[in-house]
Homo-oligomer: 210 residues x 2
């Protein structure tokens, strides 16, 4: 079927869709990143141990230090990845499709069953570097959101609009956390379809379409 040499899966049955090459630094790095994003988003930074992450990824703990320098380096990498993802969404989305995009982000459990990456944005590591990255991501996202509704930097009376955009972002993040981390019902089992209506009402109320 494939040119890949037969590789014994970690467990007895091959659970992973793409069987991994046996020694591949890039893939191992990605496995760690995925496992860390999920853990950090769901449990928070301090509650997550590097051994948890390594076990989830099925690799050795020491590789975290090797590939990301430290636990905090790994966290910063996660933050950057989530930021890129979010920027891609808010950048490409036309103004009137923002609620759908947010709803998809919240409802989306990702390819690997990830908790929403939005949750990651309010997790804090206590590290100044990570805090700065997260703040930058949030500032940029809220500015993109506000700009789509007419906000221009420095324009008088425009601060209001930025504030409202940040509140919309906060709402999305709050919903994501109550869903994926707290698991509040019925919010937790609501589908993307269930969420998009209320979210549209919410976003439109905060940021009236021009």
């Amino acid at each position: 079927m494939t040119a890949e040499p037969p590789v014994p899966a970690t467990g007895s049955t091959d659970g992973e869709p793409a069987q991994r090459r046996r020694r591949d630094a890039a893939e191992t790095r990605q496995l760690l990143l995925d496992a860390a994003r999920q853990r950090f988003a769901r449990d928070g930074y301090a509650a997550t141990t590097v051994r948890d992450i390594a076990d989830d990824a099925g690799v050795n703990v020491a590789l975290i230090s090797r590939y990301f320098t430290s636990k905090e380096g790994l966290f910063e990498a996660c933050l950057r990845a989530a930021g890129d993802e979010l920027r891609r969404t808010t950048g490409q989305t036309p103004a009137d499709r923002v609620p759908e995009a947010i709803a998809r982000h919240i409802a989306d459990l990702g390819a690997a069953g990830l908790s929403s990456q939005l949750s990651l944005l309010l997790r804090s590591s206590g590290d100044a570097g990570a805090d700065e990255i997260r703040r930058a991501v949030l500032v940029r996202s809220s500015e993109q959101l506000a700009a789509a509704r007419g906000w221009r930097p420095g324009e008088p009376g425009s601060e209001q609009l930025l504030l409202r955009a940040q509140m919309a972002l906060a709402a999305g993040i709050g919903v994501a956390v109550l869903r994926s981390s707290i698991r509040l019902e019925p919010l937790s089992s609501a589908t993307e379809q269930d969420l998009v209506g209320p979210l549209r009402d919410l976003v439109d109320a905060l940021l009236p379409p021009s």
Copy 2:
């Protein structure tokens, strides 16, 4: 001036408004509770150490175990206190005043400069008991919120209303966290006055006044 015996303050100048009696279990307990609520809300459960809390409260670490059994016992006590406070608010507030009440909760830094207690509600200790308390608080609050807008338990099509109430609650919590924990500007320095307008729009959009 007062019947209190002259008591040397902890520091050189008496910073506390009410000078504390030297050996008062009830007051010490409360000091711990206040310090813990602030720390847990701002930094999260795992990132907060019992020594931090004890130092903030100006008492010995061992008293945490004595008065609250364990760190988790203290956290549960904080959760209960925050729940009582929130219930008092959502219970007493007439339906059309809910946005103001939430805005006050978010903007209010409390008597002792506390971060908003709302933030506490999404902090997780990983402990099953604490999770259950938090879930109960959130469920009750969202039900009270939904009930004020016509929700009745089990009524068909009413689930929608509960979902929307939970999203409003999530929005409030999200704003509280981005304000007090992440310190996102300009959201962080917004006053109660700045917040109440957008919050009214938000709540009314999610839960239209009958």
